[in-house]
């Protein structure tokens, strides 16, 4: 026989555990859907199939590649091996310039074309995103 007190404690403990497990499952499930992968132009070239979700592409803005149109701009991100053209609408951070590091977030149309609505700004003019640095070191 289980006493009343013990029974109450068991109920309490099991509710507690179930809540924790449920919230963890919930968190991890949504995490799966909401993460944004970071890839370099070279990795895009080697993709077996195009990702339909948002991705981040990092590299350097190619010299002489920024073109301004009425409502958007286009530029080329390079990792000095492969390149990808980005069409961008939205506000441009101040540290965005040719020959500097950049991270653009958007959706791939094909292996050479990214439609982006967000460019990440960094605080430091000498700053290269860690991902870009690594990609540059690899080459």
């Amino acid at each position: 026989m289980v006493g009343k007190k013990v029974k109450l404690r068991i109920i309490f403990l099991s509710i507690f555990l179930i809540t924790i497990i449920l919230s963890l499952i919930l968190i991890l499930k949504s995490l799966e859907n909401e993460i944004v992968y970071f890839i370099s132009p070279t990795e895009i070239k080697n993709l077996s199939e195009l990702d339909k979700n948002k991705i981040r592409v990092g590299g350097m803005v190619k010299e002489g590649s920024i073109k301004a149109y009425e409502n958007n701009i286009s530029f080329v991100i390079t990792d000095f091996k492969n390149e990808i053209t980005v069409s961008f609408t939205g506000a441009i951070p101040n540290l965005f310039a040719e020959g500097k590091g950049v991270v653009a977030e958007g959706i791939l149309r094909d292996r050479n074309y990214l439609v982006s609505k967000k460019i990440l700004a960094k605080h430091d003019e000498n700053y290269i995103p860690p991902e870009v640095k690594e990609a540059l070191e690899k080459k």
């Binding site: 949504s30 995490l31 920024i66 301004a68 609408t89």
Partner: protein, 624 residues
């Protein structure tokens, strides 16, 4: 130069004092030496004084632009305005750690004065634990980031402070945030020492509550200042980006807020002892790991500053030791909860506070996983990812709804046991009435999302119920003010989120763009020379359908040292909405990139946060 020497040696003096003091205290605690309170006061005071001297000598070096000092060289410049020369002292890594140390020594001094009524053993143990933390910071400053290192040959000019940090809000943001962080270290030491000296009771709760409120007030204020700065300086027009660096300051806040509530249960009912201790240990660990994550460069954040991995390793080791010590103490000096005497009933104030704590821990878990998951994934699989706002919105918003409702109901329950029959039913009718109003409102503004509507209803419910309590009950004014502030905060964030409008595109001078019922006219661009930057000011006219004109003058600052461009958005705030305009140059032609935003209820986000803080402040004053 002499001033650098003075600063350096007084820091070393502080370090030795700290080592000596720990031994001295241990000898007292084991009964080898008789306790002399005057000695302890003077040691604490000399230590505070030595850190103060070294802090002021660093400020002085910054003011006179003493470039023999490496820190000054890296972060200052002769043409910088005096205000930013001084704020530059803590705008960098070395100086900010010196500030940490200063606040640590100041707080322990104040704590010792303040805790006179507490048992001696408890006070001494708190000093020991706090001195261990202080010692760790002394070692960290002196060996990995000494602000007084020389540079030779002496450069003529400094590298300058990052212009984005040359801002009044950011000049006071770090010190205020640190006051919050360091306050949590006092709570940490005090909890451990209360465990060791078996002093966890309502008397202790009453005394430590003051420190919890102090650090909570500063932490909230610090987070708010950072957010305001991000709003007008970064030029993105948002106030919270779920960026890792921001999350890192929010995590201790969740924990501290949970602690703030659970300490009340400990004070009134002598319950939740272990839980309170766990919360205070966690709050401090989160504050420390925050510093670690920001400074080590592990976080992939838009706020990344220059950093050094060696420092990260030191903080990580130090943090590991502290957590290990606290866990050991927690297990060996476990206090017994007197479960038999006090029964917890389902419908009581205690339970509602426990519910608050559960929600807080859930929010904490979400933010924690979202922030650290990318780090772990990269270490394990070298895949690089980032977790964006949708993740947080999806997980936090649904849980905010019951949270808000509990916030309205909880404070009206009685301690120990509330009779179900005494629950106020007229509030139920208020609730239905609110549903009705919100649906009309939603219909008018075409809000389709059901979650948003329910969220608005529940925050309105909290709003009405806290105003009602404020007027009719007047029992717990501070708590009512804070809860009232929180309801406005959520309400304005939600409305701001769904009703914001944004235009962004490229414009030439003289061009006009139609945007909803307004016309944006780009008038002219002028250039001025300022003290340490060149200023480019554009003039925009916004004309609404009633022919009313608003002038907006955003600015671009081109700094000469270091060579950086920053945008200063022009914001016209009003009671109802903010108009936000920022522009930037595209290459060297005449096309400018313009971003115009209309953000409703923006000002209420800051006002409501101030209300929340004010509530905490009122409570702090009432504690004797």
């Amino acid at each position: 130069m002499l001033i650098t020497q003075i600063g350096n040696y007084s820091l070393i003096l502080g370090l030795f004092l700290s080592i000596f003091f720990i031994f001295y205290l241990i000898l007292i605690l084991y009964g080898f030496i008789k306790i002399k309170l005057n000695n302890i006061y003077s040691i604490l005071f000399i230590q505070l004084f030595s850190v103060l001297i070294s802090f002021f000598s660093l400020i002085y070096s910054f003011v006179i632009s003493n470039f023999t000092n490496e820190t000054v060289y890296n972060n200052s410049h002769t043409t910088k305005p005096l205000f930013y020369k001084i704020s530059g002292t803590w705008g960098n890594h070395e100086g900010s750690l010196l500030l940490w140390l200063l606040v640590l020594t100041l707080f322990i001094f104040l704590f010792f004065i303040d805790s006179k009524k507490q048992p001696k053993i408890y006070r001494l143990y708190t000093l020991v634990f706090q001195q261990i933390i202080i010692l760790g910071f002394f070692l960290f400053v002196l060996f990995t980031s000494n602000p007084f290192s020389y540079i030779f040959p002496v450069p003529l000019e400094g590298l300058g402070l990052n212009p984005i940090l040359q801002d009044p809000a950011l000049a006071i943001h770090p010190p205020i945030l640190y006051l919050g962080y360091v306050g949590s270290s006092i709570i940490f030491s005090a909890s451990l020492s209360a465990l060791v000296s078996k002093h966890i009771n309502n008397f202790w709760a009453q005394h430590i509550k003051k420190w919890i409120f102090i650090s909570w007030i500063f932490l909230t204020l610090g987070i708010m200042l950072g957010s305001i700065w991000a709003y007008y300086e970064l030029g993105w027009g948002g106030f919270w980006f779920w960026d890792p660096v921001e999350n890192v300051s929010l995590m201790p806040w969740f924990c501290l807020t949970a602690l703030l509530h659970s300490i009340l249960v400990l004070e009134k009912r002598s319950e939740l002892k272990s839980w309170t201790i766990i919360l205070s240990i966690t709050t401090f660990s989160l504050s420390m790991s925050g510093t670690f994550l920001v400074r080590s460069g592990i976080l992939n954040s838009v706020h990344t500053f220059a950093n050094d991995p060696g420092r990260g390793v030191f903080i990580l080791t130090f943090l590991f030791i502290l957590i290990l010590i606290s866990i050991l103490i927690f297990f060996f000096f476990q206090t017994e909860e007197n479960v038999r005497e006090n029964k917890i009933y389902w419908l009581s104030r205690e339970t509602s506070i426990l519910v608050n704590n559960w929600f807080m821990i859930f929010f904490l878990a979400v933010v924690f996983i979202g922030t650290t998951y990318p780090i772990f994934l990269e270490v394990l699989t070298s895949e690089k990812i980032s977790v964006g706002p949708p993740f947080y919105n999806k997980l936090l918003i649904p849980f905010l709804i019951p949270f808000l409702i509990f916030m309205a109901i909880g404070p009206n329950l009685k301690w120990i046991k509330n009779d179900f029959k005494k629950v106020n039913f007229y509030k139920f009718f208020v609730f239905i009435f609110l549903c009705f109003i919100t649906f009309i409102f939603a219909e008018k503004f075409k809000i389709k999302n059901l979650f948003t509507i329910i969220l608005i209803i529940s925050s309105l419910y909290l709003l009405i119920s806290s105003i009602g309590d404020l007027i009719f009950k007047r029992k717990n004014i501070s708590q009512n003010i804070s809860h009232f502030g929180f309801s406005i905060l959520i309400l304005s964030i939600v409305l701001n989120g769904i009703l914001s409008k944004e235009f962004s595109g490229n414009m030439k001078i003289g061009e006009e763009v139609k945007f909803y019922n307004e016309i944006i006219k780009f008038k002219k661009v002028e250039t001025f020379n300022r003290e340490n930057y060149k200023s480019v000011i554009a003039t925009f006219e916004i004309e609404n359908n009633k022919k009313k004109l608003i002038l907006l003058k955003p600015e671009l600052r081109i700094y000469n040292q270091p060579n950086i461009i920053t945008s200063e958005a022009d914001i016209k705030s009003s009671f109802y909405e903010d108009k936000f305009l920022v522009f930037s140059v595209l290459k060297k032609n005449n096309i400018f990139n313009v971003r115009y935003q209309v953000k409703p209820f923006m000002i209420w986000i800051w006002v409501s946060t101030l209300l929340i803080i004010f509530g905490g402040f009122v409570r702090l004053i009432k504690i004797k």
